[in-house]
Point group: D2
Chain length 308, copies 4
Amino acid sequence: MGHNISEKTKGVFIIAATPFQDNGDIDFDSIDRLVEFYIEKGVSGITILGMMGEAQKLNPDESTAVMERVLSRVDSRVPVIVGVSNPGMGNLVTLSHNAMNLGAAGVMVAPFAAQKTETALYNYYESVCLALGPDVPLCYQDFPLATGVNMSVDCFLRMVRDFEQLVMLKHEDWPGLPKLSQIRKKEQDDGSRRVSILCGNGGLYLPQELARGADGAMTGFAYPEMLVQVCSLFHSGDVDAAEDLFDLYLPVVRHEQQPGYGLAVRKEILRRRGAISTALTRAPGPKLSKEDHVDLDRLLARLESRLN
Amino acid sequence: MGHNISEKTKGVFIIAATPFQDNGDIDFDSIDRLVEFYIEKGVSGITILGMMGEAQKLNPDESTAVMERVLSRVDSRVPVIVGVSNPGMGNLVTLSHNAMNLGAAGVMVAPFAAQKTETALYNYYESVCLALGPDVPLCYQDFPLATGVNMSVDCFLRMVRDFEQLVMLKHEDWPGLPKLSQIRKKEQDDGSRRVSILCGNGGLYLPQELARGADGAMTGFAYPEMLVQVCSLFHSGDVDAAEDLFDLYLPVVRHEQQPGYGLAVRKEILRRRGAISTALTRAPGPKLSKEDHVDLDRLLARLESRLN
Amino acid sequence: MGHNISEKTKGVFIIAATPFQDNGDIDFDSIDRLVEFYIEKGVSGITILGMMGEAQKLNPDESTAVMERVLSRVDSRVPVIVGVSNPGMGNLVTLSHNAMNLGAAGVMVAPFAAQKTETALYNYYESVCLALGPDVPLCYQDFPLATGVNMSVDCFLRMVRDFEQLVMLKHEDWPGLPKLSQIRKKEQDDGSRRVSILCGNGGLYLPQELARGADGAMTGFAYPEMLVQVCSLFHSGDVDAAEDLFDLYLPVVRHEQQPGYGLAVRKEILRRRGAISTALTRAPGPKLSKEDHVDLDRLLARLESRLN
Amino acid sequence: MGHNISEKTKGVFIIAATPFQDNGDIDFDSIDRLVEFYIEKGVSGITILGMMGEAQKLNPDESTAVMERVLSRVDSRVPVIVGVSNPGMGNLVTLSHNAMNLGAAGVMVAPFAAQKTETALYNYYESVCLALGPDVPLCYQDFPLATGVNMSVDCFLRMVRDFEQLVMLKHEDWPGLPKLSQIRKKEQDDGSRRVSILCGNGGLYLPQELARGADGAMTGFAYPEMLVQVCSLFHSGDVDAAEDLFDLYLPVVRHEQQPGYGLAVRKEILRRRGAISTALTRAPGPKLSKEDHVDLDRLLARLESRLN
């Protein structure tokens, strides 16, 4: 399983949208197209069935079907992480083992509001690790705005110390820059394991996050090539060029990062770029109005003119 | 479908626990036993796949299997309401139509935190009604402590006015006594449809709620016979006897009503009463410690001695 | 300052209501009357300017005036704890030092939602202790339903170990029985300081809490004599008599414990008992309707008849 | 009072920081300097004692002193709005009347989490208006991320219809672009009063908001001249120039907009620009670390080089 995610994983793991047909059914042709689109843009990996992938609106058969289609289309060209958060441990484990058997590179788990203290949080991830078994690499999704669960640096590092399979942090605490620096500093001070940190929040702070020790991004921005080039310029030492490129896209990044609403924007951009056939989100979900399209037309026209 | 729930529904709809085996699998024998237990105690109906039924920890196949087993065992002796809340409208509708086809009497839907304004709330229930079709009777579960969604009396009555299939309110806003009185008063003042109101919150305020116009209870208290007798005494006009009986059980009602923790108490009492085989809740879920059992032993012993 | 609160403090610290006149001004005569009422009923101490004391609706001059009046009327007959929670550390410290100078026995501080992790929580209480100075005994108010801040047993015991002046826990996590047992067990296992634990939540679980190691109650139930006698019977070993007495009042305890609404109930009972002149709460605040009075009349009549 | 805010108010109302000395006392000299700084940069008005002004950490005497100093220094050159949100109606009214007597142009009120339904919200603002009297112009601060209170377009327009003194919306719902469009559309469709809408959220969406009908900004960005020029270019019809200018500052806007943390960034920029003497926020408050300064140095250097 050489392609599993690990502490060394870096680059851009794109959060894949889940494309639907106009009738709300999963659009498998668009899945194929989207996978090719992402790989063509140079992503290092793909994350599926995350919150932005509308995973909570799929039934388990659909989740499995999406997983199968993506993994078979990817065909080991890049590693694939599967979001498996679930209120029931049994369902979480079943989905994870399915994913790993189909060739996933690891799973991502966010906490639930029921984990009200850091002791409860630690205990929950301990049970998750035990239930998954040691061969399933784990990414912690730290997204308090969505989960309601906050985690301290100390709590995270305790988990890293005790759970070997916890190899990655999806960092989307907000504001999160100081936390990122603290994790990197404490890891070093304590001589503890340095995990992979990929950043979310739509990429809104990517240059700052890279400067503070992030290994890349895990988000779904509809221009993955920007994320890829920013990371690659940064890692090659051309920090200014990285940020210059980022700033060109920042008006669109900021527009797409709006919670909820942003998913409709993202899918519409993917549609306009030919990556998926329709921008539909499953009900109840956001939809763009005429005014929303006007905004978007303008923002994208401005981006185009700047890129040329 | 003469046994569908309607505005006239009254009495006690017991929220059914979902019994598991020690290995976490669904315990179908215990389902049978539990159904008989509930019916023997005189309930007017049964609600399954609610929050206290750990519905969110079942997969859809299990949900269907539980539904089938309960409905087949009940065999039309009492109406059965099915909890169908789901982040995806498609899944909600599929589950609802399955339920109705199998003989359910109606479905119960709670809002999601995503319904952030009353306009959004109204629109959501409008789509639910449209998607279900007019033949599926609907119960609104008003449980802000769990859902994070608050609804005004005005908003509820607007929905009642506009959505004919909305025939019942599961009332568990907290505190909720003034709201109950206001609904009953406004219904009358506006000459609008008087819906059925069954009360939750573990039954903690049942005598006061009946006095303010509730039609009964919808909760899972492990001594359903108390709920049944209290409602029946109250409706026969013997208000003091109803409350005297209630007060005997109140120490246990209050103990079982604790959120989260209370489910472990409830299942343990059902186990002690022979209604189910083990008290296990699915992980992650509450479990009773030695100290918790000591409390419970004492509370139940005191109840027994008072009843005799 | 021999009467300061300490780890040995036990009994009932009644949370004092703040009485107003019909025009909303503070009713100092009623303060005198209320103090005498509480002392007459046998309370071990009084807590003022808590959430149920509408402290957040007083201005600082009023807070000081209330403090002065209560402390001068109490005249060292019982210790007085002052609630000093405040978004600004400066204001918190000023109020605390005023309180101690006027003869208070300690201060109570609840966390803010801004303390999002247990590290932040620990750091906040560390700054509070530093800013107060070591001579101000501190009570931690653990009320997640109101503050949004959850604290683990481990986090609390770390604070107890490191902050000597932290001598008391106001326990109102909900459900909180397991937490109480865990604190008592870990204190013993670790050989750490055993702090005083007084329980809130309107007294709803008092017998169970005493059995699990609580030292008493800190709540504002309008029949303080019940809390006092229950604690005293329990501590004298007559556990059954304690719980029998408690159960007589339980219907009213449960009614008064409803958040927000319950304050209007409590003040109305205090008014009916002659302890204060009007039941007014400051706007925006709860008010009893005609239906609410009907409930209360009935509950109190039933209580009276049971007591006689 | 010709300079009171009204439905016609437009432009940039800068949210003023409250400057402190190193010992935490209010720095009145910096207040003077800051006022001159803001006016020099061309703001249309100033808003004081808002959330970003750390109002909740001042005591009432300090609030009054800040108000007096700002109003006297401004000396009617621009209108001043005062944030008066307060859990107690009495305190809110006192502060408001003080403000108006000292020459304020209106007051701003945000709802509390206690306003759990839209009916409660409406009733609260009705009481606020009654208590303030009709001569105090009111701005509604719609900031659900901070207050926990969501308000629908319908609810807002009902308040506008019924409360004449409600003349302004501080728009910072997030995402909020569709809401802004809906308000402007419904106002027109219903022929109702068109209120002033000034946008917050740190200015992050200002060009889009202006295009959708906002009248300006109310936020505290540390380069007020950008906000002023963007609004002025936009209103003069040069929409592209407005957005070009905005985009130059966007990296800093986005950095400063981070909740909590952003206040420390903002104050540090104001300090570097000579507008205030120290960047201190009152405890407990955010502080910049060495890494945070590195970020900021870099972002500001990049801004400078782009502006030249």
